[in-house]
């Protein structure tokens, strides 16, 4: 994973992406943020998420879909706002 050191330019782009994504995530509703972190970062399955958030699995599924859609639409807005930021 860290076999090669990135060149300065791609490292800068990467840092830019990190900030953008952190900011976009912060702009989501807590419920959406929570379900995305649990699924994508913590790699929890639907049943685990349902247990921890105390909602039915069906709700986990629909919430996850809405959260992903919300993040995507914010990301697209970001790209339209400053096209040069996307390589």
């Amino acid at each position: 994973m860290i076999a090669t050191a990135p060149d300065p330019e791609s490292a800068a782009i990467r840092r830019d992406d990190e900030r953008t994504l952190d900011r976009l995530m912060a702009s989501l509703s807590p419920e959406h943020r929570e379900v995305l972190v649990m699924r994508e970062i913590e790699d929890m399955d639907y049943r685990e998420i349902a247990t921890v958030t105390n909602v039915p699995i069906g709700t986990v599924m629909s919430r996850l879909a809405r959260a992903r859609a919300a993040l995507k639409s914010r990301w697209l807005q970001e790209i339209e706002a400053k096209p040069h930021a996307v390589p």
Binding site: R14, D22, V37, L71, K72
Partner: protein, 262 residues
Amino acid sequence: MQCPEALRVQAYFDGEVDAVSAADIEQHVEGCAECRKLLQDLEHTRSALRRDLTDFRASPALRARISEALDQESSARTPQRSALGRARWRAPPFWKGAMSGVGASAVAAALALLLLTPLIGNSLVDDLVGAHMRSLMPTHLIDVASTDKHTVKPWFAGHADVSPVVADFGEQGYRLIGGRADYLDHQRSAVVVYQHGAHVINVFSWTANSRYLPKSATRDGYHLLFWQTGDLEYCAVSDTGWDELQGLEQLLKNLSSRDRPE
């Protein structure tokens, strides 16, 4: 407007369907441009989050609690899965015992708190990592080189705005090698420098303000662990693992609680 199969496609992407359903969904996706696009988007979102998200990871302590609660919850149902799937969430020894009896709802509350609380600006995390990296350059690490807390601690009095706990934990593997003052968060913060094996651990400290701090953060490959003792905020920064940072945090916390009655 949206394909009625979208939720099933998502479940397929998340590995939540059996083989028969998977084959069924694959066949659907072949003929549905919208669901093909959906799969691409899902993959794109996942890889972007896994690669670039830095501020929103659960702390190791919280992971341990979630893990514990889920193990209790699922032990009757799928013990073999929990044994495998939870290995990466293993808690360091001193968390054990403190977690017994933690139910899923308590964990949900803790997780909600973590995710609901307003986030620290990226700037302080950036500043801390920047200060840590500068400290690793030749001659920048230490202003006062000493393994004696009675030398390091008084030095801070004239050079920093705070007076943190200072001690040598050589026996536990954290050797005190000196101190430094860094300008951070609009004040002269005190930095206590430890050597742990081949790694340097900088323990920054500054006067607490009411701002929310994360429990932990990862940036540019460095781990940052935050805690508060009295009116001082501490942050240990290093490229060691979480367990090592938590070990030092615990030693310093123990020391603070012993010192307080004086």
